[in-house]
Amino acid sequence: MENFEPQAAAKRRKLPLWVYVVSFTVLIGFLVLIGKQLMNTSSGPIAIGQKVPEITLTTFDGALISSEDLAGKVVVLNFWASWCKPCEQEAAELEQAWQMYKDSGQVVFLGVDWTDTEPEARAYLEKFNISYPNGPDLRTRLGDLFRITGVPETYFINPEGELAYVKKGPFLSLQEIQTVLDSMIQ
C-alpha cells in the first residue's frame, strides 16, 4: 500500500513532454532574440576603413539623397544642431570648404540636423549662408548608425564608400578640412 503513494505522486507531478518542448523552444527563442539585439547594440561605431551601410537623407527642401547618389564621391557628413554653440564655430569653414570643392564634382557635403526643431534649423542655415544639402535626422537613424556621441561630429567617406576619417568636435580652421579632403581626393 505504502509503495503506491510515491508512485502516484510522481505520476501526478510529471508534465507531458510537449510542455517541456514548447517551454524550451520559447526560452531559446527569447534568448536568441535578446542575443541578436545585444549584438546589434554593442556592435560599436563604424570603424575607419569599414564600409558605411546604406544611408538616406531627406533634405529640408524635400530632396531625397541616398548612397547611390553619393557613389564614387568623397562624402562629408556633418552632424549639427541649431542649439549647438560649437557647431557655429565651424559653420562658416564648412561652407567655405564646400564652395572650394563643389565644382570639382568629387566631393559632396551633407548636413545632418540632429534632434533639432525645424524653424531654428532653417534660421541657422540662413544665418551662416549654408548652401550644401541639409536635412533632419529623422528618428535619429543616421546618428544611431554612426553612434554619434554629440554634435558637431563629421564623418568623411571615401569614394569606395568606406569611412576614412572622423572629426569629433568643431573644425578649428578651413585648412583642417582641406588637409583631410586633399588626402582623399585622387
Partner: protein, 163 residues
C-alpha cells in the same frame, strides 16, 4: 401663412450663418496655452542630449526649443497624444520614458510578466515541497515492520538467553 414660412427660412439661414461664423472664428483663434499645458506634455518626453532628464525640467537650449515646439503645436490645436506622436516620429524612441510596445520591444513587455509568473510558480512548488516533510512525522513514528526486525528479534532473544 406664407409670411410665416418666409420668417422661418430667414431664421434658419441666420442661425446657420452665425454657427458657421462661430466655427471659423474658433478655428482661427489659437488656443491659449499655459506653461502648465506645455509641461504636462513635456514631463512625458525626455531630453535628447542629457540622459534621463525629462523635458519639463531640462535647462538646455535644445529642450527650451523643444518646449517651444510643444507650445506651438498645442496652440495649433493638437492634442497631447498628437504632439507626443510627432516627437516620436521626428526624434525616435529616445524621447519616450519607456520604449513603445512595438517591434523587438514587445519581448521585454512579455518576458518580465512571464518571468514573474514562472518564478511565482517555482516558489510556490518549492515552498509546498519544503512543507511536506513536516507533515509526515506521524508516519515515521510508527514504522511498519521490515525485514530487519526478524534479525533484531533474534538478537534480543540471544541476549535474553545470556542473561
Amino acid at each position: 401663412m406664407k409670411v410665416r414660412y418666409v420668417f422661418l427660412i430667414l431664421f434658419i439661414t441666420l442661425a446657420a450663418s452665425l454657427a458657421a461664423a462661430a466655427g471659423v472664428s474658433a478655428q482661427d483663434v489659437p488656443t491659449f496655452v499655459t506653461d502648465d499645458d506645455v509641461n504636462r506634455v513635456a514631463k512625458d518626453l525626455y531630453c535628447p542630449v542629457c540622459e534621463n532628464t525629462p523635458l519639463d525640467v531640462c535647462p538646455t537650449q535644445a529642450c527650451a526649443q523643444w518646449r517651444g515646439l510643444i507650445r506651438e503645436k498645442l496652440e495649433a490645436g493638437w492634442t497631447d497624444q498628437q504632439v507626443k506622436d510627432y516627437f516620436l516620429a521626428q526624434y525616435g524612441d529616445r524621447v519616450l520614458a519607456a520604449p513603445p510596445v512595438q517591434g523587438f520591444n514587445w519581448v521585454f513587455y512579455v518576458i518580465i510578466p512571464l518571468a514573474l509568473i514562472a518564478s511565482t510558480a517555482v516558489l510556490y512548488r518549492v515552498l509546498r515541497h519544503m512543507a511536506r516533510p513536516a507533515a509526515r512525522p506521524a508516519a515515521s513514528q510508527n514504522p511498519a515492520p521490515s525485514v530487519d526486525d526478524a534479525y533484531l528479534k533474534r538478537i534480543e532473544e540471544e541476549l535474553k538467553k545470556r542473561e
